[in-house]
């Protein structure tokens, strides 16, 4: 896309990147909304009686779309989605401030 529309595209990333605290807050909200349960940042979402693999994939898709990252290879493992803290670390690691990073 050319310049004018490129601006909308960059809107998410043009400003300062959300802090780890912002990402954690957003994820806790997302979880509370989707599961009707409040979770702690260090709580294991997949412990006995917890979430299914289907929900884990919803988290993957949510993170990819919200933070414009691609999660693949060794990063695509359940341990990276077990807790909000783990997801914050993953987002932080994969988020590239520079545009033009390759996808999957």
């Amino acid at each position: 896309m050319t310049t004018p529309s490129g601006r909308t595209d960059a809107a998410h990333t043009a400003g300062p990147l959300p802090s780890d605290e912002d990402v954690a807050a957003e994820l806790l909200d997302f979880l509370a909304q989707r599961t009707r349960t409040r979770w702690e940042p260090d709580q294991d979402l997949f412990a006995v009686g917890g979430m299914s693999s289907l929900f884990a994939m919803q988290l993957v898709v949510h993170l990819e779309q919200t933070y414009q990252i691609a999660i693949s290879g060794a990063d695509l493992m359940l341990d990276n989605f077990r807790t909000v803290e783990a997801m914050v670390r993953l987002v932080n690691k994969l988020r590239s401030p520079a545009p033009g990073s390759t996808g999957e």
Partner: protein, 288 residues
């Protein structure tokens, strides 16, 4: 089939819940897969559905790491199964449709190619009537999701040949599944037992004696059923469950298998379980 090496080419017919899951499993185990469906819409959606399930399987650490994934080709007609070392039929649980598809596949592949019907309850002997070489036909009841549940029910019909019986275990070994073989008959072992219970669980809800949550909590927490019968119904797919119950009812006359009116009403409303976002539970609001 030769060893459980990874270059076997498989054809999977039917790109629905089970077909796409089995295709994802096979691709994840390094096989070359041709996924066949006559519906253009199903074909259009198939690559994304397979990719999504492949990612799910990978995330759950359910795939071998020592080999690259196989390739997926999507096709619209059964002749695309020609040359495959084994064919897995996973169309709707409608005996007539399964028979017609198996007949077409037998014609496309010729004698000596392992033909697998993924059915939860149609007797293999009955499906064998539709193919010229019933000795090539074996039933494999994959569980949903096929790439996460490592054990499958294998059904050897009275006319299943020794070669096919051997081939199916080789095929399953190449997919990392353990097959447990049982004798033929409506519903085999798993559906004969499970579908009766699920249908009764639905009746309890219809009678107003318990909510789905209550039935599942009791069966989970008192009896040790891992998922609960109504959450399992949603996972199976309520249309498929109703079809399977009808197959069982037609063949046994056992009224316990007559699909509950509540189940049929949900199917009519398009509430098909997880795959439609709603069944006995609502998956758009709370996915657990």
């Amino acid at each position: 089939m030769s060893d459980n090496n990874s270059d076997e080419s498989l054809a999977v017919v039917g790109a629905g819940v089970m077909g796409t899951a089995v295709a994802a499993l096979a691709v994840g185990y390094g096989h070359t897969v041709t996924l066949i469906d006559s519906s253009p819409r199903a074909r259009e959606d198939a690559p994304d559905r397979v990719r999504f399930q492949l990612r799910t399987a990978r995330m759950m650490n359910a795939l071998p790491e020592d080999r690259p994934p196989g390739s997926l080709t999507v096709a619209g007609t059964q002749d695309a199964a020609a040359g495959a070392s084994a064919v897995i039929e996973a169309v709707t649980e409608d005996p007539k449709e399964k028979a017609a598809v198996l007949a077409g596949l037998a014609a496309a592949t010729g004698p000596g190619t392992l033909l697998v019907s993924n059915t939860s309850g149609v007797p293999i002997e009955e499906l064998g009537e539709a193919v010229p070489h019933p000795e090539d036909l074996v039933g494999v009841h994959f569980m949903n999701p096929a790439y996460l549940i490592p054990t499958v029910e294998v059904i050897l019909g009275p006319r299943t040949g020794d070669a096919a019986a051997t081939s199916v275990h080789t095929l399953l070994a190449g997919l990392g599944r353990r097959g447990i073989a049982v004798g033929d008959g409506p519903g085999f072992v798993t559906s004969r037992l499970l579908h009766r219970m699920i249908n009764d669980a639905i009746e309890l809800v219809r009678e107003g004696r318990a909510t789905p949550e209550t039935v599942d909590a009791l069966m989970r927490d008192c009896i040790g059923h891992r998922t609960g019968p109504l959450a399992t119904a949603d996972l199976i797919g309520l249309d498929n469950l109703a079809d399977s119950l009808q197959v069982l009812h037609d063949r046994t006359g056992d009224t316990a298998f007559r699909p509950s009116e509540l189940l049929l009403a949900k199917v009519r409303r398009g509430h098909l379980g997880r795959k439609s976002g709603r069944g006995f539970y609502d998956y758009e609001e709370a996915i657990r």
